[in-house]
Symmetry: C2
Subunit: 140 residues, 2 copies
């Protein structure tokens, strides 16, 4: 009986420490920085939309393995407003997950509201809406 | 003797699970998105510098409780190049930690090389070099 108790406790210690390690392993991610223009006359609408993003949209983002997703706004010296996003992708097939996101009807209705607020950049890559930027530095 | 063993093991289980919780608590951070211009003729120099940032500079950044720090580069439709940074601050007094960073001699020598590459934005807040942007959305 004592042996059983000792065995169970040892197992609990191993499981507890393994749980911690797994959380550490999950820190390995691919980072993305994106940029797009936003229309001055649509600033309020865009902010209101993003102050209360639909739960179905948030769920799809998480289902597509995107985490730690932030969007920032700033007016640059050309007088125009721009949105900058940073997010982390924890999956193994970014294109497949983005195709899955694009196929979600709720996300499609959400984009129908957001896209008229935005001005995509002329030098974005083929197939992009937001333009993906070049990472020149990272420190964990 | 058996009781002692059981007590030690229970303590180990508690400590292990507490370790996990602490890692979770540390997820609470303040996020910063910053932007600044970069001179086209200084792009290569800026990229080379940031491909091999001095260890002393990296140590000071970490000592000042900055983590997950990325810098992105993109040419916008006005033809100018911009740098966008995202980082997370895990301390309790951002100004104090930034003052500590600014007081570090190695960091000061580093900034003497980086700042001539950059064009700070005219509408940045008082005391800023990089301009801090407005966060309009975040999803953990």
């Amino acid at each position: 009986m004592k042996k059983l108790v000792l065995t169970v406790m040892l197992a609990m210690i191993v499981l507890a420490s393994t749980g911690c390690k797994q959380r550490k392993v999950q820190q390995k991610v691919r980072r993305y920085g994106m940029v797009i223009g936003v229309k001055e006359e649509k600033l309020d609408e865009y902010k209101k939309l993003h102050a209360a993003v639909w739960p179905g949209v948030l769920k799809t983002i998480k289902d597509c393995k995107i985490r730690n997703y932030s969007i920032y706004l700033y007016q640059l010296d050309d007088g125009n407003y721009y949105l900058f996003s940073y997010f982390e992708y924890t999956g193994d097939d970014f294109k497949a997950d983005m195709d899955k996101m694009a196929a979600d009807p709720v996300t499609q209705r959400w984009w129908e509201l957001c896209e008229p607020c935005q001005i995509p950049l002329s030098n974005r890559k083929e197939g992009e809406w937001w333009a993906s930027m070049e990472e020149v530095f990272h420190l964990n």
